[in-house]
Each structure stands twice: as C-alpha cells, then as structure tokens.
Symmetry: C2
Subunit: 394 residues, 2 copies
Amino acid sequence: MPALANKTYFNYGGQGPLPSPSLAAITESWQCIQELGPFTGSIWPWLAAQTQGVRGDLAAICGVPPHRLALTENVSSGCVLPLWGLPWQGGDELLISDCEHPGVVAACRELAHREGLKLSTLAVGSIRSVSGEATDAAVLDALEQALSPHTRLVVLSHLLWNTGLVMPIEAVARRLEHHPRHPWLLVDAAQSVGSLPVAAAASAADIYAFTGHKWCCGPEGLGGVALSERILNASRPTLGGWRSLTNENDAGLDGPGGGHDPWHHDGRRFEVATSCAPLMAGLRCSLELLDAVGGAPARLALIRERSSQLWLGLQAIPGLKALLQEPPPAGLVSFELECEGRGHTPASLVEKLGEQGVWLRSLDDPHCLRACTHLTTTSEEVEQLLAALSSLLE
Amino acid sequence: MPALANKTYFNYGGQGPLPSPSLAAITESWQCIQELGPFTGSIWPWLAAQTQGVRGDLAAICGVPPHRLALTENVSSGCVLPLWGLPWQGGDELLISDCEHPGVVAACRELAHREGLKLSTLAVGSIRSVSGEATDAAVLDALEQALSPHTRLVVLSHLLWNTGLVMPIEAVARRLEHHPRHPWLLVDAAQSVGSLPVAAAASAADIYAFTGHKWCCGPEGLGGVALSERILNASRPTLGGWRSLTNENDAGLDGPGGGHDPWHHDGRRFEVATSCAPLMAGLRCSLELLDAVGGAPARLALIRERSSQLWLGLQAIPGLKALLQEPPPAGLVSFELECEGRGHTPASLVEKLGEQGVWLRSLDDPHCLRACTHLTTTSEEVEQLLAALSSLLE
C-alpha cells in the first residue's frame, strides 16, 4: 500500500489506501477492455461476468441474494436513488438520527421539502456506553421515544461516523415491524462495510448503502446498496438509463397513448448508465486481500486490538477525553479536547499532526478529533500518534 | 491506441478507444493520490486543481463559464439530475424527438408519470437530407407543428445517434424564446462532444449533457452537463451529497423548525458525492490529444473525409442503402439492408463482420447498421469495411 509508505495514516473512515495489486487489477481491466472492445461483441460477455462477479461478492458480504444488490457510484446515490422512488404521502415523517452525515441529512431534507414530509430526530449522539446491551437498550429506548404514528422512514448509520458506536440495526428492524406503518429502514453503511460483519444488519435493513473506497480499500467511485424485497416492489425508478432497462432498445413506448413497464425489477432498477467498469476489478482485488487476512469477525478483532490500544493510551494524556466510556466496538476512535482555551482546536491539532506526517481528521459535531485503526495499523503507529498528541498538548 | 491494434473499429459512437497516454495519466493520478493522500490535508488542493482543470476544459468546449458546468458520471445522469429538479406543473408537455436514446426517453416517461406531464413527439427521424439549410428548415418545421401552448420542455439530440444528422440547436433555442412559456431545451450531446464544434449549441441549450468516453476517447464514467443560468436558478437539487453542499459539514439545519439553504447554486448543485477522481486526468489527456490534431472544425473536416468515403462506397454496393441522401455531416454513417429476405439482418451482418474483426453495430429504429468514422479511421479501414460488406452480400 504505497499510501502508507510515507505517512502515519488514521483516516480509513475518510478513504482507505488502495493496494498496489488493486491498482494493477484496474489497469489490467482497462487493457482487457481495449483488447476485447471497447464496444464489440467480444466485450459484452466479459463485462457481464465482471458485473456479476462484483455484484455476487457484495451481495455475499451483505447476506442478500444478488438480485437485491445494486451497484452505485457512492453512498449518497445508494441512499437517495431508491429513497426518491418510494410512494410518499404528505405528512409522512422521516426520523433521522442525530449522527448522520450531512450529505444524507440534506438529501432527506430536500425530499421532505418536495413531498411535504416532516423531519424528526432520533437522539443517539449522546449515547457513550459501548458495552453491547447497554448501547442497544439506549438506542431502542431513543427509538421508542421518537417514533410517531406517522413515521414512514428511519435513517440510522450502522457504525456512527462520529462517536464510533455500532447501532443494533437488526433490533431496530424488528421493532419497526411492529409499528403500524412498518417504516422503511435506511442504513448508511459507509463506515461498517469492510470493518464489521454486516450480513445480519444489511439483510434486515430496507436500504443498506455503502462504498468500496473506505474500509474495503477499493477505488473511489464504486459502491453498492442492498435493497429489501419490499423496496424493490414499492420503489419506482428514479434516475433511469440504459442499465435500468430490461432491453436497452426499449423505452416502454408502444405507440400513441400506450406503454409497458420497461424497467428492471431487481437491483438494476437503480443502476443508471455507463460507469467506470475497471473499478470492479480493483474492488474485488481489495476484497480478496481483506479476506486473505481472515473472515469479518477475525478482522474486526484485529481492528479492535489497535483501537483499544489507542483508546487506552488516550486515557493517559491530560487534556484529551475519548468520547466513548469503554474501548470502541470497531475502528473509530474519537476524542475531545477538554479545554480548548489553551490555543488548541481539533482542526489546529489535525494540522500540526499533519505537519509531522500523522493524519487524522476533525469533526464538527461533536467537536472532536477522529482516528481510525484498520488491519494495516501497527502498534508502533498508535504509539507514535499518542506520543505526538502528548507532545503537542504539553 | 491499443484497442485499434487488433481490430477494425467503427464503434466510436458506442465507446471510443482509450489512448495509452490517457491510461498512464489515470494510473499516475492514482499513484499521486496515494502519495499525497488519500485523505490528508495535502490532497485537497491537488484534487481541487484537478477538478477545476477538467471543469474549465469542458466548460471551454461548451462555450460556457465554468460555474455552468457540472461533472457527471454519464449522459443519463447529466440529463436527468437537473430535469428532476425543475418546477413542473401537471399538464406540462414534454416534446421529445423520435430519435432520442431509449434511456432518456424512459427517464422522461417516468418523470411524466410522477409529475402528471404529457409526452408528445417531435418528428425528425424521417428527415434524410443533409444539405444544411434543408435539414434546419425541416427540423424547424417539425418543431412548429409539434409545439403546443403547454410545451414546457423540448428534448433533442445535437447529433442524432441513428440517422447521423446534426440538429440546428441554436435555431431551436431561438424559436423557443418566442414561445409564451419559453420551454426548456434539453440536448443529448452524447454523439456531438468530441466530434463537432459544440460551443454555440451548448451555450444556447438549457441542459447540454455529454460523456467523455465516446468521441472524446476518455475513460468511461466521467462526463459533464452545461446548464443555463435559468436552470441553475429554477432547478432544486435532486440527488444531494457532500459535493452539492457549500459546506460539507452543514446540512442546512438550524435547529427545530429552522433551516437555511445549504446547496451550491452553480453546477456543483448536481454533483453528488465521491466519484472516481483519477478519471479527470485521463479525460484531460485524451482532450489534449484531440487538440493536438487541430481545432474542432478541422477535426470535423477529417472525420467527414472518412464518413464521405464510406457513404460514397456504400452507393456502389447492391442491397445496401445509406439512410442519408448526401454524405453525412459528421462521423455517423447508417445504412439499411434493401431486402432482408436474403437471410441477412443488421444484427447478423454485424456478427459476421465481427468474426472478421470489423466492428460496427446495429440499431432497432430505424432497423439499420451504423458505422462511425473518427480521426483514427484510415482510408484502408473504410475500404476494408466496404469490401467485407460487398463480399457478405454477394
């Protein structure tokens, strides 16, 4: 991983480093497209096999059959494309957690404006206890307080991008089944796919949207979304293009006034048109490299070894306070400055660490720093970060 | 161009070959991202410069200021993202030419279903005369007949993907200015950008959507759309993501009940979230290679030399009939089989030519074959295609 050769890297949750074999696979894929195509009878079976391969890999990770998996460009398109196609009714409520990414929140707000929907807040940001059952109980309690008879959608990340807590997606899905309107469950999986075992959550959610370029260490520009059968049945196509059509020469027009349904009814309904095919080979290569380390539970254990080491080390640095009360459940370690009055802010600390070649990021809400540990994070890197923080705060 | 080394290629309108320097530029871009980033303080200025560069290049091609240019994944997203954000009223009419790509037609049909709009047809498919003024007069005549007081949008390709005629986009735009509702003009520019001078048409249209992977010979997965000021003013965001936000940490929520506008008001309004940044370097490299041959008018003259040669050669082959009455205005050469009864169909001919390493495509409407000539097409390749066709039809 060339990205890790010249820096100490803790921003896997922003973007993962691309392994050299994955870049080689992308380049070879382009060469193969040039040799067989780019637009010939020889290329179509090859492209279909590539697409089927990556769709199958991602569907397996999500624990869903391949027809429930749509390939997307990024997390936002995976969230919003199916969302905009759902049959909303004026007055429906969108219940959005207070730990969602601003991009998804803004898109929901726009949808609410357009369809006359109401927004309400699911308060999970103040939960700081990690010990599994306590977190789950707190989330379900917050859900109970926030649900209304009009709730039609719940938006909740699987792994919260700011506090780093894992949300009990399956339990939330079960609770929603008993709500009279059985609200849809949209899960932003930007931080979970590639860092947690996700099959149980992804197959329980209605829309489970992720990207390959963060914890999977694939190339930027390719992700996916797992969709429930009821979403596939209820949602109309939104952005439509040749890839969403069952026959790309058939727009569904039968002549004046007539028409038939031209759209795919599986995940392809939300795939649009031409995208960058060579990225599929890159993502598959990165996923194979992850699998070579071990299964998802074993990988999470390794990730947690380093995040625990970091969390423990933070306890010993005066002026810093980890957001969570116990070692993190995954690889996100967020921490606050106890007194910002001494001339430091999260952003200024990030900048000073960057000058030393140590990269993490700051967040606005809560106002904190966030370091991510992945399989490639070494014990020495964690010690280096802790030493740098101690030194800056002395 | 490795794609051209082992085949005789006439499918530039489907996908252009990727030059080796462009693939090298993409790979180098990825290496640079790994060296500087992928998510560090060092990468953001570099990424901003790359984005600004390609936005500026594409805006210059379109004759618009950069703030009117949005980067997109493909033609469909360029057409549909701004379209879905416009303030439609039930009963508005969408006037769609009968030569549009099924992907765009199906998307318009879906929009019509959602918003209660009517579809009507602009008949330009039967025009077969190339001589500039006659084509333009026929198109404007068809427009005059098809416009109604309720027309709110006209959808017309710049270079028709089936017959290969160039549409008088500026004249159509001027005519629409005098319609009481001043309908928006959506132009599918999939076939024109990279093959024609497009600045006058692109700057006259409201939505001028194109891709880099056809006639520009860039990588698949990156295109753009030029937007008029009135579209930027009237259209709300559709898919929203961090790239559409003026501050990616700000979703526009001010607290309970309050809110402010978080969205960009320039082309970035329709850019969504993370896409494949290295493609920008590849497209810019391909555009530079085109420019090295000459300006757009000089390049079109070269493209037409070969398409004229092919068109003339087709006149001499019994059983084939070129769609157009005169040599084509650009690089698309479509031709029909005069009697399909002799065991040939467009699809069967395409397959047999493919077995000889000669690649063109068939179209359903009109039922024909289509060969494209580009700057890289040689006189010998055209003769080879003509000889192969003659031989198959003997």
